[in-house]
């Protein structure tokens, strides 16, 4: 959550590309024809499909646009490439056939993958669907594909946490639509939903970002991503489509002779580029009695002993000005009382990510395949933290005869994350410790035993009497770790093995009628362990946990579809069904207090416990889609889906999700329109989807057993924990209507897309925070109502196109207005979460936008409007938390510039967010620690304040004062 930014890690990313693309074609037939395919600017076009007409033999052009193919003299070559007008060329007697492909300015021939993997032409699209090419995901590469969406798609707001290389990504499409739900879109890979479980996030008591399902994906395997933003576009996903859908299409083999081998090596390094700007004038210390005047006012003092230095070792930069005199430090060694320099650059390392991938594609007339393997090694800027991922994927497409086609795919990933950083609260949090470290101390002096960073070296006595090999603490605070100890000794590890597989078989019964079945599985095993070693400040006995998790989602789906033309009227549609089951299992063993010193096995702990969890859920569905078009310029579509849920009360376990939409290409309908308007389309769509799912076993109250009992006696508990189940729960409903227009001008050199949407969620499931005096923390109720409305604009153009040079520019901008209409009856504020400072929090407030930040402020005298102080001149806190701001950006977007000169391309994306406030716990702590630059003011000589004095606790006396301290 944005308010828990203990440290900011705005990284600068330098990219070094090593593009090695080789295409090898081995051919043996007829006469060899060679040639070059160029675009209008004369630049070679790579990847153009070159096929001998009427056959299946073909090739693609290489990186320079060159190709070579064997063909007889009477052959005609068909050259096609997405975004360009397909051309044919007769070979004749020529040995060399050079072709210039014209850009298809309207790009209207391009098909877009819509819901359930259905490919539709852009003309027929009735809601805003944006396609992101795979290139965009591999350029400035992110380990988590979700993060690559930022700035690419209007209306998509991505938040990446500063949690390291395998952190999770928060993708919000068209605003937050649910208070209780995740607000995360459904990710679909080649038509099969993927599990994107978030495994744990930092909370008020700290913790680690445990990552999500997206980190498994290799961006190199992705052909393109389409984002289905609105309810109408996602309605075919019914209860899973409420937060939008991100459709991922993976690369496939192509129909050509020989093998295509692609090797790709990519290196990214990252450095922490901004170290926070703290004051370096005053050193550690605090107020002490003045030896010259023991009964007079206290003076700022610096440490005069190891113990004092240790007491002021963290977050106490309230000493006098640095003067260079020798003073003892936490380790008893005297060093100059002066700024020790930047500890961040001593601690942080240069992070790097090195990816090597190999793809082999090939195929014949009846079958094509693509195999890819990739290996990524990422080291984080925090020492001893790394992420490794290996991906292997094999996909194949083929056909039996003319009527049967099939495809199958296996994607395997192995991920290993070492030492996710502890964030938020202080325990185990290295950046927190460096922030608070006395600024006259060099963090390298905290290294202790060089063979065990952060540990007490042999022969050293610490103020807290730690033994050799235990944590070497720099401050009298068990909850503040030695940063080296936090990085090297407090460790955690996750290993995930995952298979995402699918198979699809399609039988074209007639030219216009097909039936298709497909099955897909997302299967993952995740093993984790975490170690707090013996000697750690806050847990001196140490602890270890080992967790095994298993999850599996299976989707079985059939569809029967038709596509038939009746004169100018064309009807396409399908009906189908889906059966989804999902299982999750977790077993964990944990122990504390190691018996054999420094032997870190869970078997070696003196207190041991285990826990086990299992859940299963399923949805059965039937769906249809029907589209009627007239003369290729008027389209009407309707879809519907009925879902039956295992997690709902059987009396009330199904729901229907409809959509309807239309589009009208008026430039095709009217021939009298001006020349400069090359293309124009109006569209409108309405749909309903669900925005939240109910968890398994959440409708009936049941009992379970608590832990392993006490003294061999079993203990009973409620199986539902702190959230009261509700038998009448339903998925919340999201209804959305959108209107838009797509325009292209000047033969496509400029274009505008505009969308307006208004969305409303009703019956939102609130895990409503209830009074703890009810005996529980929360209950799930179908009660909330939220609205979102907004606009999305995409403007694109080619301002310069001259010779070999061209400049494309594209700007997208989205504005979303969100409002929480109602919470539960009588509830105007709903607590969501809070930072460790616990003097502020995120609340949902009725009548306000999603994600309000509330906190205490200084009390203001309502009569005079002046700030209130107590008799000693300290500010008096407001009685209740007041609204401080809102955490969600109001405007998001991206500006993309692409410069091409011959075969060089420079891509630059600037993504931006405007609006949205941050409550920074870091700033609060830095201020209270005397590190923030704002603490420089009035340090000496007192601070003039003007306000009202509050005497006693109540009532307020209307008395003004000016005080110098």
């Amino acid at each position: 959550m944005m308010i828990k930014r203990v440290y900011k890690n705005l990284k600068s990313t330098m990219l070094l590309f090593l593009w090695l693309v080789c295409s090898v074609a081995v051919l043996a037939q007829d006469r060899q024809i060679t040639g070059t395919v160029k675009d209008a600017n004369g630049a070679g076009l790579p990847g153009v499909s070159v096929v001998v007409k009427g056959t299946t033999s073909g090739t693609t052009t290489n990186a320079e646009g060159k190709y070579s193919i064997n063909a007889p003299s009477n052959a005609t070559l068909v050259l096609s490439f997405i975004g360009y007008v397909t051309q044919e060329a007769a070979v004749g007697n020529r040995g060399s056939v050079d072709i210039t492909l014209a850009e298809d300015v309207m790009q209207l021939g391009e098909v877009v993958v819509t819901a359930l993997g259905v490919e539709r032409s852009q003309k027929a699209l009735q809601s805003s669907i944006t396609k992101v090419p795979g290139m965009s995901l591999t350029a400035a590469r992110e380990n988590n594909v979700g993060n690559s969406m930022q700035g690419r798609v209007a209306g998509v707001n991505v938040t990446k946490s500063s949690s390291g290389p395998a952190g999770s990504s928060r993708v919000i499409i068209r605003g937050n639509k649910s208070i209780g739900g995740s607000n995360q879109p459904l990710y679909v890979i080649d038509g099969i939903p993927m599990d994107n479980t978030q495994f744990g996030q930092v909370g008020v008591w700290g913790g680690t970002d445990q990552g999500d399902g997206l980190t498994s994906l290799n961006p190199e395997d992705i052909e393109s991503v389409t984002v289905l933003k609105g309810a109408a576009a996602a309605a075919l996903y019914g209860s899973r489509g409420g937060f939008g859908v991100i459709n991922i299409t993976t690369k496939r083999g192509s129909n050509k002779k020989g093998l295509g081998i692609e090797f790709n090596s990519n290196y990214v390094f990252e450095k922490v580029y901004r170290y926070d700007d703290t004051q370096t004038i005053y050193g550690p210390g605090g107020l002490k009695a003045n030896p010259a005047d023991p009964t007079g006012p206290q003076i700022y003092a610096k440490p005069i002993s190891q113990l004092e230095a240790w007491n002021w070792g963290n977050g106490a930069m309230w000493g006098p000005k640095f003067d260079g005199s020798m003073v003892p430090q936490f380790d008893g060694v005297s060093r100059p009382y002066s700024y020790a320099g930047d500890n961040w650059s001593r601690f942080y390392e240069t992070g790097s990510s090195w990816t090597n991938s190999l793809a082999i594609t090939g195929g014949g007339n009846n079958q094509t395949f693509r195999f890819s393997f990739s290996d990524m090694k990422d080291t984080f800027v925090v020492p001893n933290s790394s992420f490794g991922r290996k991906n292997a994927a094999l996909s194949t497409n083929g056909k039996f005869g003319k009527k049967i086609t099939y495809n199958a795919k296996v994607m395997y990933s192995n991920e290993k994350m070492n030492n996710r950083s502890m964030l938020g609260d202080s325990p185990g949090n290295a950046p927190y410790a460096i922030y608070g470290l006395a600024t006259n101390t060099n963090v390298m002096d905290l290294m202790g035993d060089p063979n065990k960073p952060g540990a007490v070296p042999v022969g050293v006595t610490t103020p807290d009497l730690k033994s050799t090999g235990e944590e070497y603490q720099q401050a009298n605070n068990n909850w503040c770790q030695n940063p080296w100890w936090a990085a090297y000794q407090i460790t955690n590890e996750n290993i995930r093995d995952r298979f995402i597989t699918s198979a699809n078989l399609r039988y074209n019964i007639l030219d216009w009628l097909y039936i298709q079945g497909q099955i897909g599985m997302d299967y993952a095993v995740r093993n984790s362990n975490s170690l707090v070693p013996q000697g750690t400040g806050y847990q001196r006995g140490g602890s270890k946990s080992e967790t095994g998790q298993f999850q599996r989602e299976i989707n079985q789906e059939w569809t029967m579809g038709a596509d038939h033309e009746f004169g100018k009227i064309r009807v396409t549609g399908f009906v189908g069904g889906n059966k989804m089951t999902r299982e999750y299992e977790r077993i964990a063993a944990s122990g504390s207090n190691f018996n054999v010193p420094f032997f870190t096995s869970v078997n070696n702990t003196s207190s041991q416990s285990f826990s086990y969890g299992y859940s299963k859920s399923g949805i059965n569905s039937l769906f249809y889609s029907a589209e009627v078009s007239y003369a290729g310029y008027l389209y009407l579509t309707t879809t519907g889906r009925e879902d039956w849920f295992s997690v709902l009360n059987p009396a009330n376990n199904h729901k229907f999700y409809p959509s309807v939409g239309g589009s009208f290409v008026f430039t095709d309908a009217f021939s009298t329109l001006p020349e400069w308007l090359s293309f124009g389309k109006l569209r409108a769509a309405w749909g309903q989807v669900a925005t939240a799912n109910v968890g398994s076993y959440a409708v009936v109250p049941t009992y379970g057993l608590l832990g392993q009992g006490h003294l061999s006696l079993p203990m009973g508990t409620f199986a539902f924990g702190d959230n009261i189940p509700n038998p009448n729960l339903n998925p919340a409903l999201s209804s959305e209507i959108e209107f838009g227009t797509d325009l292209k001008f000047l033969n496509g050199r400029a274009g505008v897309e505009f969308t307006y949407y208004t969305q409303k969620t009703t019956d939102d499931i609130l895990s409503a925070t209830i009074s703890q005096s009810s005996g529980f923390n929360s209950t799930s109720v179908n009660i909330g109502e939220l609205t979102n409305k907004g606009i999305e604009i995409l403007v694109s153009g080619t301002p310069v196109q001259k010779g070999d040079f061209s400049w494309d520019i594209s700007v997208n901008i989205a504005h979303n207005e969100n409002k929480i209409v109602t919470l539960a009856p009588g509830v105007t504020r709903l607590f969501i979460d809070e930072p460790r400072t616990r003097n502020a929090g995120v609340y949902q407030v009725a009548g306000m936008p999603f994600g309000m930040i509330l906190g205490y402020i200084q009390k203001v005298d309502p009569a005079s409007g002046k700030k209130v102080y107590d008799a000693n001149g300290y500010p008096v806190r407001s009685d209740v938390m007041e609204i401080l701001g809102n955490g969600i950006a109001k405007v998001t977007g991206g500006l993309s510039n692409t410069f091409r000169y011959k075969r060089f391309t420079l891509d630059a994306l600037i993504d931006y967010k405007f609006g949205g406030d941050i409550y920074s716990g870091t700033e609060v702590n830095l201020t209270s620690w005397g590190l923030h630059k704002q603490t420089l003011e009035y340090r000496e000589g007192g601070m003039p304040i003007e306000g009202v004095i509050q005497t006693g606790t109540e009532p307020m006396v209307n008395q003004f004062m000016v005080r110098y301290q």
């Binding site: 009695a289 039936i515 207190s607 300290y874």
Partner: protein, 539 residues
Amino acid sequence: MKHLIKLILSTLLLVVMIAGCDTEDLHDMNINPNAVQVIDMNYFFTAAQLGLASNGSSGDNRYTDWRTNINFASLAIQHTASSGANAGEKYFDNDMEPLNAPFQFYYRDALRRTTEILKQTSEGGSMEGRLVNTRQAARIVAVFDYHRLTDWYGSVPYTEANKGLEGIFQPKYDKQKLIYTDLLKELDEACVAFNGSDVDYAGFKKADLIFGGDIAKWKKFGYSLMLRLAMRVSNVDAAMAATYVTKAVAGGTMASNDDNAWIKMSLTPSESTNQNGISRALYPGDGGDWANRLLSKKLVDQLKGTNAASAADDDPRLTIFTQGPIKWTASDLGVVLEADPTKWIGQPTGYDGSMLNTEYGGGSPVTPYEKFPAINTKMLQDDEPYMLMFAAESELLKAEAVVRGIGTVGGTAQSHYDAGVKLAMQMYTPYDASLVVSDAAVTTYLTNYPFAAGTALEQIGTQMWLSKFMMWWEAWSDWRRTGFPVLTATNYPGNATGGTIPVKLVIPAAEAAGNPNYAATSTQPDKMTTKVWWDGGAE
């Protein structure tokens, strides 16, 4: 090819049949294999009892004790002292956790479970009319928690509390007088309803962590609690106090240390569930806060008696509560740095580090744990039993009732006082067999400091205060009511009470913001300085 098509079509047909239907399979999928519809309420009873010990059945057993009992109450009543900033001794309100913790945990722990036991054993429940003894014991457990909540916060949810499963999510707050009236009625009814020949007695006996099913002891526990509650209201409702003091004494309160209520704890399996939360907060291998909660000057001076230079007139509890200043590391059980009790001095209350340096180090740094006595490590092992209630309190309360003429008690004030002091001094052996005080030592103490009618209330109050070492939050309630011993408040810069010892805990901000009943029905102003009803505040 034909076969293939047939195969495909029949596969698809199969898919059609299994998908998109409202099947039994789908319904059965929502039956949790790890949960049951009915459970033995004795299992809930065991959990409720463990919940009395540091809320150990709802998560982290050290949370509430560490924050409220140790970090707030032990400092506020000046048993311990700290050089740090805190609510208990410096009266700060910037860290609200010590003031919020009980509200956050009490309802969700023992009370959640006792509520379910009472629901299932009453009309319409799955065990209606059964588990008679479990039911009565659960009522006593509930009273034990509820009286603390109202003692600490004033008006709290009671009649509508713990009814989340009935759909009451934002309960109204009840006035303390109403709560006390009902709590005393509950104790009265429960104590007479135990039945040793109940058909379900065996299950209760097995599940009972405190008394192993000994009904006589449960009744003594109930009546002792009744006596405590009756005396709590004695300053503001003489009639209620008199009625229930008389009933409690007639019913029979705890009379020997064998009657005391302890919860046995265990090192395994889980430290956050099965161990002693107080120990965990202070033990160096765990929370490690022992060095920041050293014995206060007030307490040490009291225990050292009138002649600080002599050990002969010391309270025998001096060497029970502490071994003196120690170095305590994970690998040994505390190296005593100064074994001579006559040299021990307590840490002054309300001081910060620099004030200690000035007064005790001549300006040089003072390491508090090297200077001031620490809590005895023999009371702080992770598997120490957790003390709930003891006989000495009942005797001291009877002494007070006799002195003040409340109800029908019998005996003399001195007889109860002497008995109370003796019981209090000799109750520590469950922590460690070596923590023995001989009868002779008790006699010497009572000879040196005899009960005197002129100072009776102060003596009784002081003995009550001494007896509640480790149960500091109860000592805080006693002190608020009696004003004894006389404690000198601190006035550290920036304190939130204007230099007075806090007399109320504060409701958590999330509750204040979330529960619409808070503003109108809670005790207001919701500040540390507002007195609760029995302390002279509003009903």
